[in-house]
Amino acid sequence: MLTSDPKPNAYRKPADCIRSARAGISEVMHSLETAASADALVALLTEAAKQLLEASELLRKNENADDAGIRLEIEGLRSQLKTLSVLLAESERLVSRWIGRLGTRGGYTEQGTSAPLVLVKKVNISG
């Protein structure tokens, strides 16, 4: 499990934090397309959230609140999040299709076991 110092970095601006979060979200979306490991996705999402927390901490202390780039970055981030939500929804649909496939499999074999599916990642048996 990732750990991080929750104290904001005094030398960073909120816009920098949001840009870092956006970079993380972009990488998450790219990773989803390439079926990267779950660990990497989770780490990126967690880090993005931490960056946003840091940005909000800085803003709460009114540090660099007049940063003109903040609004631009945050709007861009929200756009990315919408895309990510769609991607995650697609992942959920993938699981749903698995469930549907299982529910509509071709009945049962003569031995009473479930009929075979169209298989992937099948273990190779020789001999």
Partner: protein, 466 residues
């Protein structure tokens, strides 16, 4: 704010755990029809929850847990071994039983009947050349039937040796697969469901050939013993079997084909240890049943005993009356009588002498004595007539085949039952997998809420800069 961090960390861990679980489930569904595969159950390990010590709780994915039931696997293997034994016995005895078929004109039984009928016909017309020719033809038929049967049994014996070699090769190939599994297993930190499936598939195939005992070591590697005594695979070592020939030194019939022996990797004869499975059945037929019929190192063989008794009894009647021998056969080797039996070379119909000099002299005494042989009980044939002895042999082999076929049919059902039981205990249930996928679907929905948290954070920031 630290509470939010904790919540994020817990959610992140949960997402990772659920992803692992999805991988396990996908693999289960993908391998639902893979031989030897059993369900891997995704496990979740609760994390410590002590906020004051910085433990945020949550869940993490554990390693997949196999649902393989070792007792069910053992039960299936035992039944498969018995099926291998009975089915191989039935397969091997079938061509032997056909050699001893009592139907058809080419059988020994029919040929003997024709010969004794020809003797009877000759006794009615001792000077009739056609009757004498019929005797020679019938005698030739008997010799051909004996030699033909012996030749067929010899061919079966040769093919049995080929089958034995094939079985030994198959056992060695499976042993290689199991040894490779051990090598892979010893180098792995976690169990691999795919490797496990391959291993159990190999073990089940191996059980067809011989009775096996499987022991699992602490490092996950397995030891396979044949009949509980002969090591086949121990860790990363494989001990190949080989086919050999037992020595005929000191045997009653040293010229007979030697029995086949199974040698372990050190050259020790372990034939006596292998009594079950296909290999055990093949050894039984090759070293016991066939020698009993056609001869072996310590057994003349019932076919040879019958052939030599028929030939010597008839020759004795003819030569006692001053005539020539009707049959010839190799008298130097008890195991070759049937194969070498033939009508005496150059014998003509008119060479057959019908008159018995007696006392008292009888003009058709020889054919009468010859035809009477059919009903004589022979001490060398367990006090049975020729026909009774042959019938006894035919009946015995028929019973052996019938028992093997019955056992094979019953054992097929038993194996199916054992496999069904195993399937219930440790097979992949697609219904269960569907249920698990639904759970994962909900887990994905929950994990998506992490994105919602980030979205709400971004909204908070927007509100702060307005």
């Amino acid at each position: 704010m630290s509470d939010l961090f904790s919540a994020l960390n817990s959610a992140a861990g949960a997402l990772r755990a659920f992803q692992t679980a999805l991988d396990v489930t996908q693999n289960n569904v993908s391998n639902s029809q893979t031989p030897g595969y059993v369900t891997q159950v995704p496990t979740f390990d609760a994390l410590g929850f002590q906020p004051t010590k910085g433990l945020d709780g949550g869940v993490e994915g554990g390693t997949g847990q196999s649902t393989r039931n070792q007792y069910a696997e053992l039960a299936v293997r035992q039944q498969v071994t018995l099926l291998g034994s009975s089915s191989q016995l039935a397969t091997s005895l079938d061509p032997i039983e056909q050699v001893f078929s009592v139907s058809g004109t080419s059988s020994i039984s029919s040929a003997l009947d024709t010969l004794f009928q020809s003797f009877s016909a000759w006794s009615a017309n001792t000077g009739d050349v056609s009757a004498q020719s019929a005797v020679l033809n019938a005698a030739s038929g008997v010799a051909t039937a004996f030699a033909g049967s012996a030749n067929q049994l010899d061919q079966i014996r040769t093919s049995m040796s080929t089958d034995l070699q094939s079985s030994v090769d198959s056992i060695n190939q499976l042993a290689d697969q199991i040894q490779q599994y051990n090598v892979n297993r010893q180098g792995a930190t976690d169990s691999d469901a795919g490797l496990d499936a391959q291993l159990n598939n190999a073990l089940e195939q191996l059980a067809q050939y011989a009775d096996t005992q499987v022991l699992t070591a602490s490092d996950g590697s397995i030891t396979v013993l044949l009949d509980g005594q002969v090591p086949l695979v121990t860790g990363d070592q494989v001990h190949h079997l080989s086919l050999g020939s037992a020595s005929n030194a000191g045997a009653t019939n040293p010229t007979a084909p030697a029995n086949v022996s199974i040698l372990d990797s050190k050259g020790n004869d372990v034939t006596q240890n292998i009594t079950d499975g296909q290999l055990g059945a093949l050894l039984s037929v090759r070293n016991q049943i066939l020698p009993q019929l056609i001869g072996g190192p310590s057994d003349a063989g019932e076919l040879n005993e019958l052939a030599s008794q028929v030939a010597s009894s008839i020759n004795n009647v003819l030569t006692t009356a001053g005539g020539q021998q009707l049959f010839t056969y190799d008298t130097s080797s008890a195991v070759d009588a049937a194969a070498t039996m033939s009508v005496a070379s150059g014998l003509q119909p008119t060479d057959l002498v019908a008159a018995d000099p007696g006392p008292p002299p009888v003009s058709n005494g020889v054919p009468l004595k010859l035809s009477a042989l059919a009903n004589n009980q022979n001490a060398q044939l367990q006090n049975m007539t020729f026909d009774q002895f042959y019938g006894s042999t035919t009946s015995w082999i028929g019973n052996q085949l019938s028992q093997a076929q019955t056992a094979s049919t019953a054992q097929t059902q038993t194996v199916a039952q054992a496999q069904a039981l195993r399937q219930q205990l440790s097979g992949v249930s697609l219904d269960e997998e569907a249920t698990r996928l639904m759970e994962l679907q909900r887990s994905y929905q929950a994990a998506s809420r992490m994105v919602t948290v980030i979205d709400s954070l971004s909204e908070t920031i927007i509100n702060m800069i307005q």
